[in-house]
Symmetry: C2
Protein backbone atom coordinates (compact mmCIF):
# COMPACT_ATOMS: atom_id res chain seq x y z
CA UNK A 1 0.00 0.00 0.00
CA UNK A 2 1.45 3.33 -1.01
CA UNK A 3 1.81 6.23 1.40
CA UNK A 4 -0.92 8.09 -0.40
CA UNK A 5 -3.30 5.16 0.04
CA UNK A 6 -2.46 4.89 3.72
CA UNK A 7 -3.26 8.55 4.19
CA UNK A 8 -6.49 8.23 2.24
CA UNK A 9 -7.56 5.33 4.38
CA UNK A 10 -6.92 6.97 7.70
CA UNK A 11 -8.54 10.16 6.44
CA UNK A 12 -11.55 8.02 5.59
CA UNK A 13 -11.59 6.61 9.11
CA UNK A 14 -11.09 9.92 10.86
CA UNK A 15 -13.65 11.78 8.78
CA UNK A 16 -16.24 9.08 9.35
CA UNK A 17 -15.70 9.11 13.09
CA UNK A 18 -15.49 12.84 13.65
CA UNK A 19 -16.68 14.59 10.52
CA UNK A 20 -14.71 16.96 8.34
CA UNK A 21 -14.38 19.87 10.75
CA UNK A 22 -13.87 17.60 13.73
CA UNK A 23 -10.83 15.95 12.15
CA UNK A 24 -7.39 17.58 12.10
CA UNK A 25 -4.74 17.00 9.47
CA UNK A 26 -2.30 16.18 12.25
CA UNK A 27 -4.59 13.40 13.40
CA UNK A 28 -4.90 11.95 9.93
CA UNK A 29 -1.16 12.01 9.41
CA UNK A 30 -0.50 10.48 12.80
CA UNK A 31 -2.92 7.57 12.41
CA UNK A 32 -1.45 6.94 8.96
CA UNK A 33 1.98 6.69 10.57
CA UNK A 34 3.19 9.57 8.45
CA UNK A 35 4.38 13.09 9.13
CA UNK A 36 2.09 16.02 8.56
CA UNK A 37 4.55 17.41 6.06
CA UNK A 38 4.24 14.30 3.96
CA UNK A 39 0.48 14.66 3.99
CA UNK A 40 0.69 18.18 2.61
CA UNK A 41 3.24 17.09 0.05
CA UNK A 42 0.79 14.57 -1.34
CA UNK A 43 -2.45 16.57 -0.95
CA UNK A 44 -2.40 20.26 -1.50
CA UNK A 45 -5.04 20.99 1.15
CA UNK A 46 -7.37 19.36 3.62
CA UNK A 47 -10.32 19.98 1.33
CA UNK A 48 -8.62 18.29 -1.60
CA UNK A 49 -7.87 15.32 0.61
CA UNK A 50 -11.55 15.18 1.51
CA UNK A 51 -12.57 15.24 -2.14
CA UNK A 52 -10.23 12.35 -2.88
CA UNK A 53 -11.69 10.39 0.01
CA UNK A 54 -15.19 10.90 -1.39
CA UNK A 55 -14.06 9.65 -4.78
CA UNK A 56 -12.04 6.67 -3.54
CA UNK A 57 -14.51 5.29 -1.04
CA UNK A 58 -17.72 5.90 -2.94
CA UNK A 59 -20.56 3.45 -2.55
CA UNK A 60 -21.57 3.68 -6.19
CA UNK A 61 -19.45 0.77 -7.48
CA UNK A 62 -21.05 -1.48 -4.86
CA UNK A 63 -24.54 -0.51 -5.95
CA UNK A 64 -23.68 -0.91 -9.59
CA UNK A 65 -22.33 -4.39 -8.95
CA UNK A 66 -25.65 -5.63 -7.65
CA UNK A 67 -27.18 -8.07 -10.10
CA UNK A 68 -30.89 -8.67 -10.49
CA UNK A 69 -31.70 -12.02 -8.91
CA UNK A 70 -33.84 -14.72 -10.48
CA UNK A 71 -37.25 -15.64 -9.18
CA UNK A 72 -40.65 -14.13 -8.69
CA UNK A 73 -41.18 -10.41 -8.23
CA UNK A 74 -41.39 -10.59 -4.50
CA UNK A 75 -38.35 -12.82 -4.20
CA UNK A 76 -36.36 -10.63 -6.58
CA UNK A 77 -37.17 -7.65 -4.40
CA UNK A 78 -36.13 -9.48 -1.28
CA UNK A 79 -32.80 -10.43 -2.83
CA UNK A 80 -32.03 -7.00 -4.10
CA UNK A 81 -33.16 -5.28 -0.91
CA UNK A 82 -30.83 -7.48 1.08
CA UNK A 83 -27.91 -6.63 -1.16
CA UNK A 84 -28.63 -2.93 -0.99
CA UNK A 85 -28.79 -3.05 2.78
CA UNK A 86 -25.53 -4.95 3.02
CA UNK A 87 -23.82 -2.57 0.59
CA UNK A 88 -24.97 0.33 2.70
CA UNK A 89 -23.59 -1.35 5.77
CA UNK A 90 -20.27 -2.11 4.15
CA UNK A 91 -19.94 1.58 3.37
CA UNK A 92 -21.49 2.75 6.58
CA UNK A 93 -18.53 4.91 7.46
CA UNK A 94 -18.65 6.57 4.11
CA UNK A 95 -22.31 7.38 4.60
CA UNK A 96 -21.48 8.91 7.93
CA UNK A 97 -19.08 11.24 6.18
CA UNK A 98 -21.75 12.25 3.73
CA UNK A 99 -24.17 12.87 6.55
CA UNK A 100 -21.70 14.72 8.68
CA UNK A 101 -20.97 17.25 6.01
CA UNK A 102 -24.39 17.58 4.50
CA UNK A 103 -24.65 21.10 5.87
CA UNK A 104 -21.15 22.38 5.36
CA UNK A 105 -19.87 21.03 2.06
CA UNK A 106 -23.01 20.85 0.01
CA UNK A 107 -21.64 21.18 -3.51
CA UNK A 108 -19.29 18.23 -3.23
CA UNK A 109 -21.87 16.04 -1.56
CA UNK A 110 -24.92 16.81 -3.65
CA UNK A 111 -23.02 15.64 -6.68
CA UNK A 112 -21.97 12.38 -5.08
CA UNK A 113 -25.37 11.75 -3.59
CA UNK A 114 -27.52 12.45 -6.62
CA UNK A 115 -25.25 10.14 -8.59
CA UNK A 116 -25.92 7.50 -5.96
CA UNK A 117 -29.67 8.01 -6.16
CA UNK A 118 -29.72 7.84 -9.94
CA UNK A 119 -27.70 4.63 -9.95
CA UNK A 120 -29.96 3.05 -7.37
CA UNK A 121 -33.19 4.06 -9.09
CA UNK A 122 -31.90 2.78 -12.39
CA UNK A 123 -31.10 -0.57 -10.88
CA UNK A 124 -34.46 -0.85 -9.17
CA UNK A 125 -36.36 0.27 -12.26
CA UNK A 126 -35.08 -2.77 -14.09
CA UNK A 127 -36.38 -5.10 -11.44
CA UNK A 128 -39.73 -3.41 -11.17
CA UNK A 129 -40.54 -3.16 -14.83
CA UNK A 130 -39.30 -6.64 -15.70
CA UNK A 131 -40.11 -8.70 -12.64
CA UNK A 132 -43.32 -7.03 -11.55
CA UNK A 133 -44.78 -5.92 -14.90
CA UNK A 134 -46.08 -2.56 -13.73
CA UNK A 135 -46.97 0.57 -15.63
CA UNK A 136 -44.07 3.04 -15.87
CA UNK A 137 -45.75 5.45 -13.48
CA UNK A 138 -46.57 2.85 -10.88
CA UNK A 139 -43.11 1.42 -11.30
CA UNK A 140 -41.45 4.80 -10.80
CA UNK A 141 -43.36 5.38 -7.59
CA UNK A 142 -42.71 1.95 -6.16
CA UNK A 143 -39.02 2.24 -6.89
CA UNK A 144 -38.97 5.39 -4.81
CA UNK A 145 -40.86 3.72 -2.00
CA UNK A 146 -38.63 0.69 -1.95
CA UNK A 147 -35.43 2.72 -2.07
CA UNK A 148 -36.59 5.22 0.53
CA UNK A 149 -37.75 2.51 2.90
CA UNK A 150 -34.50 0.54 2.78
CA UNK A 151 -32.42 3.70 2.99
CA UNK A 152 -34.48 5.20 5.81
CA UNK A 153 -34.50 1.95 7.73
CA UNK A 154 -30.74 1.66 7.45
CA UNK A 155 -30.05 5.22 8.53
CA UNK A 156 -32.45 5.03 11.42
CA UNK A 157 -31.22 1.74 12.80
CA UNK A 158 -27.54 1.60 12.01
CA UNK A 159 -26.48 5.20 11.94
CA UNK A 160 -28.78 7.08 14.29
CA UNK A 161 -29.26 4.33 16.79
CA UNK A 162 -25.86 2.74 16.31
CA UNK A 163 -27.21 -0.80 16.00
CA UNK A 164 -25.90 -3.61 13.86
CA UNK A 165 -28.95 -5.62 12.84
CA UNK A 166 -28.86 -9.38 12.44
CA UNK A 167 -29.59 -10.95 9.10
CA UNK A 168 -32.91 -12.12 10.52
CA UNK A 169 -34.02 -8.63 11.46
CA UNK A 170 -32.99 -7.29 8.08
CA UNK A 171 -34.81 -10.07 6.27
CA UNK A 172 -37.91 -9.59 8.34
CA UNK A 173 -38.08 -5.94 7.37
CA UNK A 174 -37.23 -6.38 3.73
CA UNK A 175 -39.48 -9.33 3.09
CA UNK A 176 -42.48 -7.55 4.62
CA UNK A 177 -41.59 -4.55 2.51
CA UNK A 178 -41.24 -6.65 -0.63
CA UNK A 179 -44.58 -8.28 -0.03
CA UNK A 180 -46.29 -4.94 0.49
CA UNK A 181 -44.70 -3.41 -2.58
CA UNK A 182 -45.31 -6.30 -4.93
CA UNK A 183 -48.89 -6.36 -3.67
CA UNK A 184 -49.07 -10.13 -3.79
CA UNK A 185 -48.16 -10.25 -7.47
CA UNK A 186 -46.25 -13.40 -8.32
Amino acid sequence: MTTKERILESAYNCFSRKGYFGTTTREIAHTAGVSEVTLFRLFKSKKELFREVLINFSIIPDIRAISVPEGSGELALLGIGRKIYLSLREKKEFLKILLSEVTGLTEEIEEVYSHFVRTLEELLSNVFSSALSLSPDESRMKVKIFGAAVFGFFISEEIFQGRELSQREIDEFISTLSRSISGGKP
Copy 2:
Protein backbone atom coordinates in the same frame (compact mmCIF):
# COMPACT_ATOMS: atom_id res chain seq x y z
CA MET B 1 -38.01 37.77 23.44
CA THR B 2 -35.35 37.45 26.10
CA THR B 3 -31.66 37.68 25.36
CA LYS B 4 -31.28 33.98 26.04
CA GLU B 5 -33.99 33.16 23.52
CA ARG B 6 -32.39 35.37 20.91
CA ILE B 7 -29.09 33.58 21.38
CA LEU B 8 -30.75 30.17 21.21
CA GLU B 9 -32.46 31.09 17.99
CA SER B 10 -29.38 32.34 16.23
CA ALA B 11 -27.42 29.36 17.53
CA TYR B 12 -30.11 27.17 15.97
CA ASN B 13 -29.73 29.00 12.68
CA CYS B 14 -25.94 28.96 12.66
CA PHE B 15 -25.64 25.30 13.65
CA SER B 16 -28.09 24.25 11.01
CA ARG B 17 -26.28 26.16 8.31
CA LYS B 18 -22.72 25.20 9.24
CA GLY B 19 -22.85 22.38 11.74
CA TYR B 20 -21.49 22.40 15.26
CA PHE B 21 -17.79 22.57 14.50
CA GLY B 22 -18.29 24.97 11.61
CA THR B 23 -20.02 27.54 13.81
CA THR B 24 -18.14 29.92 16.12
CA THR B 25 -19.48 31.37 19.31
CA ARG B 26 -18.53 34.80 18.02
CA GLU B 27 -20.77 34.27 15.02
CA ILE B 28 -23.69 33.18 17.15
CA ALA B 29 -23.34 36.17 19.45
CA HIS B 30 -23.00 38.57 16.56
CA THR B 31 -26.09 37.34 14.68
CA ALA B 32 -28.02 37.51 17.95
CA GLY B 33 -27.00 41.15 18.27
CA VAL B 34 -25.28 40.37 21.54
CA SER B 35 -21.73 40.43 22.78
CA GLU B 36 -19.75 37.22 23.10
CA VAL B 37 -19.35 37.90 26.80
CA THR B 38 -23.10 37.89 27.25
CA LEU B 39 -23.31 34.57 25.49
CA PHE B 40 -20.84 33.00 27.90
CA ARG B 41 -22.59 34.58 30.83
CA LEU B 42 -25.82 32.82 29.87
CA PHE B 43 -24.36 29.51 28.65
CA LYS B 44 -21.37 28.07 30.35
CA SER B 45 -19.90 26.54 27.19
CA LYS B 46 -20.51 26.05 23.50
CA LYS B 47 -21.47 22.45 24.07
CA GLU B 48 -24.06 23.36 26.67
CA LEU B 49 -25.52 25.88 24.26
CA PHE B 50 -25.76 23.13 21.67
CA ARG B 51 -27.59 20.86 24.07
CA GLU B 52 -30.10 23.59 24.85
CA VAL B 53 -30.67 24.12 21.14
CA LEU B 54 -31.38 20.42 20.71
CA ILE B 55 -33.91 20.53 23.52
CA ASN B 56 -35.63 23.76 22.51
CA PHE B 57 -36.00 23.07 18.82
CA SER B 58 -36.87 19.40 19.02
CA ILE B 59 -39.31 17.94 16.54
CA ILE B 60 -40.98 15.76 19.15
CA PRO B 61 -43.77 18.18 20.13
CA ASP B 62 -44.75 18.43 16.46
CA ILE B 63 -45.00 14.67 16.13
CA ARG B 64 -46.93 14.32 19.34
CA ALA B 65 -49.43 16.94 18.21
CA ILE B 66 -50.41 14.89 15.20
CA SER B 67 -53.91 13.52 15.68
CA VAL B 68 -55.14 10.33 14.10
CA PRO B 69 -57.45 11.31 11.27
CA GLU B 70 -60.89 9.80 10.63
CA GLY B 71 -61.59 7.57 7.69
CA SER B 72 -60.50 4.27 6.25
CA GLY B 73 -57.11 2.76 7.01
CA GLU B 74 -55.56 3.91 3.80
CA LEU B 75 -56.92 7.43 4.17
CA ALA B 76 -55.78 7.61 7.77
CA LEU B 77 -52.30 6.65 6.67
CA LEU B 78 -52.30 9.26 3.94
CA GLY B 79 -53.32 11.95 6.39
CA ILE B 80 -50.78 11.00 8.98
CA GLY B 81 -47.97 10.55 6.46
CA ARG B 82 -48.62 14.02 5.11
CA LYS B 83 -48.46 15.52 8.56
CA ILE B 84 -45.24 13.72 9.39
CA TYR B 85 -43.64 14.89 6.20
CA LEU B 86 -44.68 18.47 6.81
CA SER B 87 -43.46 18.36 10.40
CA LEU B 88 -40.12 17.09 9.18
CA ARG B 89 -39.95 19.91 6.69
CA GLU B 90 -40.86 22.53 9.25
CA LYS B 91 -37.91 21.35 11.31
CA LYS B 92 -35.67 20.66 8.36
CA GLU B 93 -32.88 22.78 9.76
CA PHE B 94 -33.03 20.98 13.05
CA LEU B 95 -32.73 17.65 11.28
CA LYS B 96 -29.70 18.90 9.43
CA ILE B 97 -28.03 19.58 12.75
CA LEU B 98 -28.81 16.09 13.92
CA LEU B 99 -27.53 14.58 10.72
CA SER B 100 -24.43 16.67 10.50
CA GLU B 101 -23.35 15.99 14.04
CA VAL B 102 -24.47 12.41 14.41
CA THR B 103 -20.88 11.22 14.13
CA GLY B 104 -19.18 13.75 16.35
CA LEU B 105 -21.64 14.30 19.18
CA THR B 106 -23.29 10.94 19.49
CA GLU B 107 -24.24 10.96 23.16
CA GLU B 108 -26.28 14.13 22.93
CA ILE B 109 -27.98 13.15 19.72
CA GLU B 110 -28.77 9.50 20.33
CA GLU B 111 -30.92 10.49 23.27
CA VAL B 112 -32.94 12.99 21.27
CA TYR B 113 -33.24 10.71 18.27
CA SER B 114 -34.33 7.56 20.02
CA HIS B 115 -36.96 9.58 21.83
CA PHE B 116 -38.14 10.79 18.45
CA VAL B 117 -38.32 7.26 17.06
CA ARG B 118 -40.24 5.96 20.05
CA THR B 119 -42.76 8.78 19.85
CA LEU B 120 -43.28 8.22 16.16
CA GLU B 121 -43.67 4.47 16.44
CA GLU B 122 -46.13 4.88 19.28
CA LEU B 123 -48.24 7.24 17.23
CA LEU B 124 -48.20 5.02 14.19
CA SER B 125 -48.93 1.89 16.18
CA ASN B 126 -52.24 3.40 17.22
CA VAL B 127 -53.25 4.01 13.64
CA PHE B 128 -52.16 0.61 12.45
CA SER B 129 -53.77 -1.45 15.11
CA SER B 130 -57.01 0.50 15.21
CA ALA B 131 -57.50 1.56 11.61
CA LEU B 132 -56.03 -1.46 9.85
CA SER B 133 -56.85 -4.22 12.30
CA LEU B 134 -53.59 -6.10 11.96
CA SER B 135 -51.87 -8.58 14.21
CA PRO B 136 -49.37 -6.97 16.60
CA ASP B 137 -46.40 -8.43 14.72
CA GLU B 138 -47.62 -7.37 11.32
CA SER B 139 -48.50 -4.01 12.74
CA ARG B 140 -45.04 -3.56 14.25
CA MET B 141 -43.38 -4.31 10.96
CA LYS B 142 -45.61 -2.08 8.89
CA VAL B 143 -45.09 0.79 11.28
CA LYS B 144 -41.39 0.46 10.69
CA ILE B 145 -41.84 0.37 6.94
CA PHE B 146 -44.12 3.36 6.87
CA GLY B 147 -41.89 5.42 9.12
CA ALA B 148 -38.69 4.45 7.34
CA ALA B 149 -40.16 5.20 3.93
CA VAL B 150 -41.43 8.65 4.84
CA PHE B 151 -38.23 9.46 6.70
CA GLY B 152 -35.96 8.11 3.97
CA PHE B 153 -37.92 9.87 1.27
CA PHE B 154 -37.72 13.16 3.12
CA ILE B 155 -34.01 12.92 3.79
CA SER B 156 -33.22 11.88 0.27
CA GLU B 157 -35.26 14.55 -1.46
CA GLU B 158 -35.17 17.52 0.82
CA ILE B 159 -31.89 17.22 2.63
CA PHE B 160 -29.50 15.39 0.37
CA GLN B 161 -30.81 16.73 -2.89
CA GLY B 162 -31.89 20.09 -1.54
CA ARG B 163 -35.32 20.00 -3.17
CA GLU B 164 -38.57 21.40 -1.81
CA LEU B 165 -41.27 19.04 -3.05
CA SER B 166 -44.73 20.28 -3.98
CA GLN B 167 -47.77 19.05 -2.10
CA ARG B 168 -48.70 17.04 -5.20
CA GLU B 169 -45.37 15.18 -5.25
CA ILE B 170 -45.58 14.48 -1.54
CA ASP B 171 -49.13 13.21 -1.84
CA GLU B 172 -48.27 11.03 -4.79
CA PHE B 173 -45.55 9.31 -2.81
CA ILE B 174 -47.46 8.97 0.41
CA SER B 175 -50.71 7.79 -1.12
CA THR B 176 -48.93 5.08 -3.11
CA LEU B 177 -47.12 4.11 0.06
CA SER B 178 -50.34 4.04 2.07
CA ARG B 179 -52.04 1.87 -0.53
CA SER B 180 -49.15 -0.60 -0.56
CA ILE B 181 -48.97 -0.76 3.21
CA SER B 182 -52.67 -1.12 3.86
CA GLY B 183 -52.72 -3.81 1.17
CA GLY B 184 -56.11 -2.77 -0.10
CA LYS B 185 -57.73 -3.20 3.29
CA PRO B 186 -60.55 -0.75 3.81
